[in-house]
């Protein structure tokens, strides 16, 4: 079953902060409802992308997880901006080969990175934080010469591109792998069985409990004729609904436990048997190793 496009695609052209279009300050009820809808949308969307016939979708999740971690470490060790830019370009090529929608892939990285990382590292370009050769003088403030340093600019560019490349790699992994197969691969990578079982069950019941949260919040919205701005009342509602949610989760845990025992659970979980590795997985693993060597080699050569 594929979800219709209008359901899974985020609203195009509307910045999530609401700076374009109608500028209404959203209350906590609306925000939480939208957050819940966002979780569902992401789940439907990545289910859909992971079923597409692309390059990364064909790779075994175990191999994919291990190689993505290796590539993340390699990108983490790079000192040169040019090498990181090349690595970022390679992730874009991989996204095209895996039929990940380009607009979303670029937006997910470039909406988040400048907004958070960019703003955070901006002060670091000044000589008061990162000492070095001043390239743009900003005059004298309180008796101190203020200016933007070459080292500061380099550091800011380095961290922005590094964060962008890392996020792109993780987004590629997340969007092209179905959750059940990823879970099975964790077990064969040595994660304890208990953790895999808890992880799988938690993921399944996140969506169930999300339905309960949405119901509570929609019921409140339906009974609210005009926006309630009282902070204390709002907080009382939030904490009461969180408490009610825990009560529901606890009741559900009891029922799930009884159902598990009725079906023969005696404390030793079984997980999905991971499939056999194919030739393509070997080729991908080899290509990733070569990419790691190339990234580190190029960086070393450029450092001189």
């Amino acid at each position: 079953v594929t979800a219709p496009a209008w359901l899974t695609e985020p609203e195009v052209g509307l910045c999530p902060c609401g700076c374009i279009g109608r500028r209404t300050r959203r209350g906590f009820v609306d925000k939480t409802l939208r957050g819940g809808a966002g979780v569902l949308r992401t789940a439907l969307f990545s289910d859909e992308v992971s079923a597409r016939p692309g390059l990364l979708q064909r790779i075994d999740p175990r191999v994919k997880l291990a190689t993505v971690v290796a590539l993340l470490v390699a990108c983490g060790l790079v000192h040169r901006l040019a090498v990181l830019l090349a690595a970022y370009a390679a992730t874009v090529v991989l996204a095209v080969a895996s039929r990940v929608p380009m607009g979303l892939f670029l937006r997910r990285v470039w909406l988040f990175v400048p907004l958070f990382t960019g703003v955070v590292v901006l002060p670091a370009t000044l000589n008061v934080i990162t000492d070095g050769d001043v390239v743009v003088g900003l005059g004298t403030w309180f008796g101190h010469d203020l200016g933007i340093t070459r080292q500061g600019l380099q550091a800011a560019a380095l961290i922005v591109v590094r964060v962008a490349t890392s996020i792109s790699l993780v987004v590629l992994l997340v969007l092209t792998t179905s959750w059940t197969r990823l879970l099975a691969s964790l077990r064969s990578l040595g994660v304890p069985r208990v953790f895999v079982l808890v992880l799988g069950m938690a993921y399944r019941y996140v969506f169930h409990l999300l339905g309960a949260v949405t119901d509570m919040y929609e019921a409140r919205t339906a009974r609210t004729p005009r926006p309630d701005t009282d902070v204390t009342r709002g907080r009382a509602f939030v904490t009461a609904s969180a408490g009610a949610l825990f009560g529901k989760a606890h009741t559900l845990a009891e029922e799930v436990h009884l159902a598990m025992v009725a079906r023969g659970y005696r404390g030793s979980p079984r997980s999905l048997a991971p499939g056999r590795l194919r030739a393509l997985d070997g080729v991908w693993a080899l290509a990733s190793v070569l990419a790691v060597v190339a990234i580190l080699g190029a960086d070393h050569a450029l450092r001189g």
């Binding site: 983490g76 990162t130 304890p192 953790f195 902070v231 949610l245 825990f246």
Partner: protein
């Protein structure tokens, strides 16, 4: 408090991940030991709850909203070890499914939010609530203070992880390779945000949920408080030696902070460094001059290796040797006291 990939060096991520491995191992063993079949669904649903709690927007007085972490809340409801598993699971789902928070930085994120935060928050709340009744308002205060301190200590850990990056990882020309801010900038920035808004939201959320459960769903509070009565307080609990050991361990872990402190300790200067004019003196008093250098055979003179090199290593070595000596002397004194007490008892009977 979520740290994305790219802010911390792979070496830092490796160290943080490695330090979480024993915690996860103990947590997994505990989960298996406690009533085997019932515990797994409870912890799994706790994990789903802790994922969703991070989504709840709490209204803040200025008209905007903020969201909490809920690690202390889960620790109070299910116990700290279950909270380690539950919050770790929530963070893994966020990282591997939604791409929020880093994959490499997962170890660091888990250390801050799935280990430090529930244990600090739970420890403080338990110490403050003592054995008062389950419906007592003191439990709300204890939960609020625990959550507030817990999130601030977690933020302090994150600030330290960020702040050590430029000191440890800098290119030859002085370009910081990862997070560029120093400890003197990260600690005030993180704590300013968490001592005010984030800490307040966490405290309000935790205490609010406990208050609701006290009114509406008392059986749920009993999951982790089996020995406490609903309405009457139990006998006061004696603080065990274990708490003293935990306090001492925290202080040992914080020892390296001494390396960052500027200046020296008051009244510990060498005589030649004294500002004599300030005290109206013309010369170093003869007694001080004679006795200050009376003993100069210290093994680790000036908390260093003596040659003035490797100050950091020398400082840490001094700390380790000092702790070992104190532990040995205390242990010896304890053994002597116990032997004497046993002899007396035997002589008396």
């Amino acid at each position: 408090v979520h740290i994305p990939d790219g802010y911390l060096s792979p070496a830092t991520c490796g160290v943080m991940g490695a330090s979480m491995v024993p915690v996860w191992a103990v947590a997994a063993r505990r989960v298996r030991r406690v009533v085997t079949t019932r515990y797994v669904p409870l912890v799994a649903l706790g994990a789903a709850f802790s994922f969703l709690v991070m989504m709840f927007n709490v209204p803040v007085p200025d008209g905007t909203t903020a969201h909490g972490v809920g690690a202390t809340l889960v620790a109070i409801l299910l116990g700290p070890w279950a909270a380690v598993v539950a919050v770790t699971t929530a963070l893994v789902i966020q990282a591997l499914f939604f791409g929020d928070g880093g994959v490499l930085a997962l170890g660091a994120n888990c250390f801050n939010m799935a280990f430090v935060m529930p244990f600090v928050g739970y420890g403080i709340s338990r110490a403050l609530s003592g054995r008062v009744a389950l419906t007592s308002p003191r439990r709300l205060l204890a939960a609020a203070v625990g959550a507030y301190v817990g999130i601030n200590v977690a933020a302090l850990c994150a600030a330290i992880e960020f702040g050590i990056q430029p000191d440890l990882f800098t290119a030859a020309d002085g370009t910081p390779l990862y997070a560029p801010f120093h400890l003197s900038e990260t600690i005030p920035a993180m704590l300013a945000a968490h001592l005010t808004v984030a800490g307040g939201v966490e405290a309000a959320l935790t205490a609010g949920v406990i208050a609701y459960l006290q009114r509406a769903n008392l059986p749920v509070l009993r999951i982790n408080h089996r020995d406490v009565d609903d309405l009457t307080a139990g006998p006061p609990r004696r603080l065990g030696w274990r708490w003293a050991a935990i306090g001492l361990a925290v202080m040992v872990v914080l020892t390296p902070l001494g390396l960052l402190a500027p200046g020296g300790a008051f009244g510990e200067d060498a005589p030649q460094d004294l500002d004599l004019g300030r005290y109206g003196l013309k010369a170093v008093p003869t007694g001080l001059a004679k006795w200050s250098s009376f003993w100069n055979h210290a093994v680790l003179d000036g908390y260093g290796l003596g040659d003035g090199q490797n100050e950091t290593v020398g400082y840490l070595l001094s700390a380790v040797v000092g702790i070992a000596v104190i532990a040995a002397v205390t242990g010896l004194a304890y053994l002597v006291a116990r032997t004497v007490a046993t002899r007396r008892r035997e002589a008396g009977t």
